[in-house]
C-alpha cells in the first residue's frame, strides 16, 4: 500500500514538473459538510485565477485540523470549532489557528402538512429520535404513530442534527434512513405521521417546518444563531492570511456576491444580517 502511494507521488511529481512555476498551489482539507462549499469556491477560483491550482479533499473536521497542525494544508475546513487539545498542539508546533466563519448551517425539523403539531422542544425531538416518544398524541397531536426519518449517517446534515439535537444519545432502531435531502422531503410530504429533517433550502409549502424551542427556522434566526439547530462553518488558517494572497482571497470569498450565491446554492446560509 505504502509503496503504491510512493509510486503515485512520484508520478504526480512527474506530471506537475511539466508546468512547475506556473501554478500557485493551495491545499484544502477537512469537513465533508463544508466540502461542497470548498469545492464550489475552488471551481470559481479556476476561472478567476487560472494560474493557481487548488486541491480540496474531504476527510472530516478532525482530519482537517490535524492536517493544518501538521502543516499539510493551507486551509482546514471545519464544521465545528477547534478543540482545546487541538489548539494546544497547534501552538506547540508553532501554528496559530485562526477561524473564519464563512456560513451558517441550519437543519429544519419538518412534518407532514396535515400535522397539528407546530412546535416541539429540542428535548422532545431528541426523545422522538430516541424512540421514547412514538405517538403524536404524546406531544399534543393526533393519535398517530410517528414515522421517524433520518438522513444516512454519512451525510453532513446527519452530523449537524446528531451533534445539536441528539447530544450523543443513540437513535432508536425504528428510525428510517434516506440518502438525500430531496428524498427526505418526499417521504415527509407523502407520509402523514412522518417527522424528518432537511436543510433550510428544502423547506417549502409541501412540508411544515416546526418551531424548535419556540423559534421559527428561517434565514434570519439561523444567521443570527437563535435557532437551536444551527451552527457556524469555519475555515481555519495558520495566522490571519497575508493580505492579497490567494489564501486571503479564498478565505474572504464568502463576502463576495458570487461567494454568497454559492453558499446559498449549497443549502447553507450566508453570515449576513441586513
Amino acid at each position: 500500500m505504502k509503496s503504491n502511494l510512493k509510486i503515485l507521488a512520484v508520478l504526480a511529481l512527474l506530471v506537475t514538473a511539466g508546468n512547475v512555476m506556473a501554478a500557485e498551489k493551495l491545499t484544502i482539507d477537512g469537513s465533508t459538510t463544508v466540502g461542497p462549499i470548498g469545492d464550489a469556491f475552488a471551481e470559481a477560483f479556476k476561472t478567476m485565477r487560472p494560474d493557481c491550482s487548488i486541491t480540496v479533499s474531504k476527510t472530516g473536521s478532525s482530519d482537517g485540523a490535524k492536517a493544518l497542525i501538521e502543516g499539510q494544508c493551507d486551509i482546514a475546513m471545519m464544521s465545528r470549532f477547534m478543540k482545546d487539545k487541538e489548539f494546544a498542539t497547534a501552538i506547540e508546533k508553532g501554528i496559530m489557528p485562526v477561524a473564519h466563519a464563512i456560513a451558517m448551517d441550519g437543519v429544519c425539523v419538518v412534518v407532514h402538512r396535515s400535522n397539528t403539531v407546530s412546535a416541539l422542544t429540542s428535548e422532545q425531538v431528541k426523545d422522538i429520535y430516541m424512540g421514547k416518544i412514538t405517538n403524536w398524541k404524546q406531544v399534543g397531536g393526533a393519535d398517530k404513530p410517528i414515522v421517524v426519518i433520518s438522513r444516512d449517517s454519512s451525510s453532513g446534515t446527519y452530523e449537524t442534527f446528531e451533534g445539536l439535537v441528539m447530544h450523543k444519545e443513540k437513535m432508536s432502531d425504528n428510525v428510517e434512513y434516506v440518502n438525500s435531502n430531496p428524498q427526505a422531503h418526499a417521504r415527509v410530504k407523502s407520509t402523514e405521521g412522518a417527522i424528518g429533517y432537511v436543510g433550510l433550502g428544502f423547506v417549502d409549502r409541501n412540508v411544515k417546518a416546526l418551531k424548535i424551542d419556540g423559534v421559527v427556522p428561517n434565514r434570519a434566526t439561523i444567521s443570527k444563531g437563535i435557532y437551536p439547530v444551527s451552527r457556524p462553518l469555519f475555515l481555519f488558517t495558520n495566522g490571519y492570511p497575508k493580505l492579497g494572497t490567494t489564501v486571503f482571497q479564498f478565505c474572504t470569498f464568502y463576502l463576495t456576491e458570487e461567494g454568497q450565491e454559492i453558499i446559498e446554492a449549497k443549502g447553507f446560509i450566508p453570515v449576513t444580517n441586513y
Binding site: K58, T59, K144, S154, K168, D173, E176, N179, Q183, G193
Partner: protein
C-alpha cells in the same frame, strides 16, 4: 496469386498446385501469428478471470483488520457480535457492529420477493412454453425481457413516489417504505430471469415426452404438473436461484424502498415494517466513511458475507444448470 485461389475454388484437384512444403519464413510467420493470436485472446480472457480473484482478494483483505485485533478470544467476540447482535452503531465513540438485523433484512426482502416472483414467474413460463399461441409468445418474451433492462434507480423512484404513498393510503401502513415494498419491486426485477430460464427449461423437454404422457391418457394439466415440470425441475431451480441472486445483490431499489431501519421486524411476519439490507448499508455508509477505521473494515466484512452468499448461490445454480445440460445430452 488470385488466379491460383480461383483455381482452387473451381477445381478440387488444383489444390495440389500449391506447394505442400512451406518456405521457412512462411512457416515461421504462421507460427508466430498463431501464437500471438492465442496470447491476445488468452490475455483478454485472463483479465476477466483475474478481476474476480482480485475482487475476492481485496474484499477479504480489507475485512481481516476488522476481525484480527487483539487476542484470539477478542477476535471471536468480534465475529460473534457481528453475527448475533442487532445493535448497529458504527459511528459512535464506543461503536457497536451488530449486523444480524442487516443480514436478516437482506433475507426478508429476498425471501419476500421470491414468494411473489416464483409462483408468478413459473406460471408465466408454463403459459409461454405450453399454452400461449406462437404469436403471443413471440411478442411476450421480448417485452418481459425489457423488465431486466430498466435501470434499477427507475424502479426505486417508482417505489418511493408511487408504491409507498399507495401503501400508506390504501393499505393503511404507517410507513410506505418497508420490506413489502422492496420485495414487490425486487420481485418484478427478478421475474425476467426466472421466466426466461424456466421457460427455456420447459421448452427443452421434448415433444415426445409430452406425447407419451398424452398417449397414456393424461390430461394437459396432469402432463404439465406431473411430467413436464418434474422433468424440467433442474432448470426451474436454476432460474429461481438466478432470480434470488438478482434480489440479494440489488442495491439502489432496496436503499430507496426498504426504509433502512436496522432492526428485525416484530412480529417476525410483519412485512409492513422497515428493514435494512446488506447492500444498502454498504452503499449508504461507504461514501463518507473515514478510511482504515473499524467502520470502514466492517463494511467490507458485510461485503465478504454478501460475496459468500452470492458465490454459494452461483455454485448451486451452476450445479443445476450442469444437470440440465447433461440431461439434454443424454436424450
Amino acid at each position: 496469386m488470385t488466379e491460383t485461389v480461383g483455381n482452387i475454388e473451381k477445381n478440387a484437384a488444383a489444390e495440389f498446385s500449391r506447394p505442400l512444403c512451406l518456405t521457412a519464413t512462411e512457416d515461421l510467420r504462421g507460427f508466430i501469428a498463431e501464437k500471438i493470436g492465442y496470447l491476445i485472446l488468452f490475455l483478454i480472457t485472463f483479465v476477466s478471470v483475474i478481476a474476480v480473484f482480485l475482487i475476492f482478494f481485496f474484499v477479504i483483505h480489507e475485512t481481516l483488520p476488522f476481525i484480527f485485533q487483539g487476542s484470539l478470544s477478542d477476535n471471536l467476540l468480534r465475529v460473534k457480535e457481528f453475527l448475533t447482535s442487532t445493535k448497529w452503531y458504527p459511528e459512535r465513540a464506543e461503536p457497536e457492529f451488530g449486523a444480524l438485523a442487516i443480514i436478516m433484512g437482506s433475507m426478508y426482502v429476498t425471501v419476500g420477493s421470491l414468494l411473489i416472483a416464483v409462483p408468478v414467474g413459473l406460471l408465466a413460463a408454463i403459459f409461454l412454453s405450453d399454452i400461449a399461441p406462437f404469436e403471443v409468445r413471440q411478442y411476450c418474451k421480448p417485452i418481459i425481457e425489457i423488465l431486466a433492462a430498466i435501470p434499477s434507480v427507475a424502479y426505486g423512484v417508482f417505489a418511493v413516489m408511487v408504491v409507498a404513498p399507495w401503501m400508506q393510503n390504501k393499505l393503511g401502513f404507517s410507513t410506505g417504505t418497508n420490506a413489502l415494498n422492496a420485495s414487490v419491486i425486487l420481485a418484478f426485477m427478478a421475474l425476467p430471469t426466472i421466466i426466461s430460464v424456466s421457460e427455456d427449461a420447459l421448452s427443452a423437454i421434448g415433444r415426445e415426452i409430452r406425447e407419451a404422457s398424452y398417449g397414456l391418457g393424461a390430461t394437459r394439466a396432469e402432463t404439465m404438473l406431473k411430467v413436464v415440470i418434474p422433468a424440467a425441475h433442474s432448470g426451474i431451480i436454476a432460474g429461481v436461484i438466478l432470480g434470488m441472486m438478482r434480489a440479494i445483490g440489488e442495491t439502489m431499489v432496496v436503499w430507496m424502498a426498504s426504509g433502512n431501519a436496522s432492526r428485525i421486524p416484530s412480529p417476525w411476519w410483519d412485512l409492513s415494517q422497515s428493514v435494512r439490507t446488506m447492500t444498502a448499508t454498504i452503499a449508504g455508509e461507504m461514501g463518507e466513511v473515514p478510511k482504515n477505521t473499524d467502520h470502514y473494515y466492517v463494511l467490507f466484512a458485510i461485503g465478504t458475507l454478501l460475496l459468500i452468499f452470492t458465490f454459494t448461490l452461483n455454485m448451486v445454480s451452476e450445479y443445476f444448470m450442469a444437470k440440465v445440460k447433461k440431461k439434454a445430452r443424454g436424450h
